[in-house]
């Protein structure tokens, strides 16, 4: 597995952001909210499923109230681990709780053009280009739809987007941009072409569908129906809460965790009631709204705490987690982007979130930056290296070498040094040059990152998608457009 894919695995350090008792308390509070306050499910099908399992359904308001026992029985059916299959089986990702994989962020609406640097609306070609560059990196393990293909019809946009990614990368595709039943059914047809039939999707889910909830305490009808379609065919699906302090959630962190958890837990239970044992994941990108404007912030200490706390909850439910990290609120790749993306990704990684979303977007997941994409990849590499920790054994203690060098010598010519020097992290985008060189060139990490993206796009040849498969996908999409 993961031939060319970088992941955090067996970290040498741990972080306990919530005690077991605190997690249980949040869980109990969540069950109380689902039972007493209820969660809105604006989908006829979803309400039918809840009613048939004995939940209290208010059809007028489309609010479901379910007993703790029903929720807990449903959650117990979730598979604790499963693979995200890739078009290239060597790049399958096992969500087993011991791997942290990174995806591209999504879904932006503007792009800082790779060549001119100007900001413009995103289009289908951007989806292709970003997928191709992501395919070449070791850090990006799977794709989200990074930006919206606004130059194609909204009715089939989600399908054009996943087709474009498959044509430019052999890694797993998780779409966050298909949120109605019609497109979800067509997406199943497209995915089936990659694995020789729908029946094979269960063992080789080359596509997964992420849905957003509608906080506080609600879901979107189309999203629910799309998630149910995914579960029907064994494609992993999950609900992402973006409940935000002050606006769509309480001002307090624990309270906001309860609101988000109630949305995700109730949505997940619905999937299990409909399709017991279907692969599901927990997804979250909680944040605090800005105190002055109410806007989405995309960073700050609250986000960092959510990154770790949500994983504690997902672990408690034994469900893989897809966690919002990176996704800075910064307007360009700068100090703020570095601080926010490093800390959010560190907190989510040390807690072993299974999927991190993701690299490349600025301004609260709205503007794609190729430079930021590359810099985010390096942030992940630094964190991955850090979490490997310090190994203390005879070889690493290097006592013989220390004795051989003695006081006042140096270690540069030692065999031990030669043997282990490649264990030292070699950055691509940290400026360690002499000051005089910087003074002369006045360039830096952002320039190098952009240059690397340009070079990669120009040179990388992804494992091609069979022309016939591609044409067939095109026919399915065209048929839907008629």
């Amino acid at each position: 597995m993961t031939k060319t894919i970088k992941s955090v695995s067996n970290p040498k350090m741990k972080l306990e952001v919530l005690s077991q008792q605190e997690i249980k308390r949040i869980h109990a509070a969540t069950l109380q909210v689902i039972e007493k306050t209820g969660v809105r499910f604006p989908s006829a099908r979803a309400l039918e499923i809840w009613a048939s399992h004995g939940a209290e359904v208010d059809r007028g308001k489309m609010i479901v109230r379910a007993k703790p026992d029903l929720i807990e029985r449903a959650l117990a059916l979730c598979p604790p681990e499963y693979p995200l299959a890739a078009r290239d089986p060597l790049q399958d990702l096992l969500l087993d709780g011991n791997h942290v994989f990174v995806g591209t962020d999504g879904c932006g609406v503007e792009v800082l053009d790779l060549h001119s640097g100007t900001r413009r609306s995103s289009c289908l070609q951007d989806v292709r280009d970003i997928a191709r560059i992501a395919d070449a990196t070791a850090e990006v393990a799977f794709h989200w739809v990074p930006v919206s293909a606004q130059d194609v019809s909204p009715g089939t946009r989600g399908l054009h987007e996943i087709k474009a990614i498959w044509e430019n990368s052999s890694k797993h595709v998780q779409t966050e941009s298909i949120y109605n039943e019609r497109e979800a059914r067509a997406a199943i047809e497209l995915a089936a072409l990659l694995v020789g039939g729908k029946e094979n999707l269960r063992s080789r889910p080359v596509l997964s569908l992420m849905q957003c909830s509608a906080p506080p305490l609600g879901h979107d009808g189309g999203s629910l129906d799309a998630a149910l379609v995914a579960a029907e065919y064994g494609l992993p699906t999950g609900f992402m809460t973006m409940a935000a302090n002050l606006t769509t959630g309480p001002a307090t962190l624990a309270g906001n965790l309860v609101v988000g958890n109630a949305e995700v837990v109730a949505g997940t239970a619905l999937i299990q009631l409909a399709y017991p044992g279907a692969p599901v994941f927990y997804a979250a990108a909680q944040t605090a709204s800005d105190l002055r404007t109410g806007a989405y912030t995309g960073g700050g200490p609250e986000d960092f705490l959510y990154g770790a706390a949500t994983n504690a909850l997902a672990d408690f439910y034994k469900i893989p987690l897809s966690m919002g990290s990176f996704a800075t609120g910064a307007k360009q790749p700068d100090w703020q982007a570095g601080v926010e993306n490093s800390l959010s990704t560190f907190m989510a990684s040390i807690s072993m979130a299974d999927m991190l979303l993701g690299v490349g977007l600025l301004h609260g997941s709205r503007i794609w930056s190729y430079a930021q994409m590359m810099l985010d990849c390096e942030i992940f590499s630094i964190i991955q290296k850090t979490l490997q920790g310090i190994t203390v054994d005879e070889e690493m203690l290097a006592l013989d070498t220390i004795a051989a060098v003695g006081p006042g010598g140096n270690f540069l010519t030692q065999k031990h040094t030669h043997k282990h020097m490649r264990g030292i992290f070699l950055p691509q985008f940290l400026d360690r040059r002499p000051y005089s060189e910087w003074e002369q060139k006045r360039d830096g990490p952002v320039d190098w990152a952009l240059e690397k993206a340009r070079r990669t796009l120009a040179s990388h040849q992804p494992d091609p998608l069979d022309d016939r498969v591609s044409a067939e996908m095109g026919r399915i999409i065209t048929a839907l457009e008629k």
Partner: protein, 216 residues
Amino acid sequence: MTEELFKKMAQSIVDGDSDLAVSLAQQAIAAGLDPLEAITMGYVIGVNQVGASFACGDAFLPELVMAGEAMKSAVATLEPEMQRRGTTRQVLGKVVLATVEGDIHEIGKTLVGTMLSATGFQVYDLGVDVPAARIIETVKETDADLVGLSALLTTTMVKQKEVIDELDKSGLRSRVKVIVGGAPVTRDWVEKIEADGYSEDAIGAVDVAKRLVSGS
């Protein structure tokens, strides 16, 4: 005594206390005070005070919204008395607000509504998932000056254009200004669909709305 009551009214807005604002309005009616005076010499003073502390960074959005809600409740309580006396409150303009068809995202739109009504606009909030036809109908019924359209998804954002096209077809476009909002809305989009204005947040939306109705 009246002075005292006006002060309390202003304070109820500063404290964002809707219940108190309503009960003070009832007291004012019982005492035979002019509701318009209660608004301009009482409540509005509070709104201005909160606005000023917000502007210098001392107050936060929740305080602004709570003040807005309290103001709305007070005005609603005074409304019947104003009608009885045949007086009307001077409004800055009439605004029809909606989240477009296919989209259920509410909070940004609602926030804009609260801010506009606190500033002195008459707001007709149609809620979420609102078809273009209903928006057009309401614009006609209310003789609105402004239409505010919210969308959170790139796939529903196209409905903002649809509403503008429909306004055009029904001959209303020259009579109303259209403002749009939502996370995916950019200046490019606003220019493309020929909307009259947009803002990235609710506070900014008030400035845009004021500017548009004053015609400057």
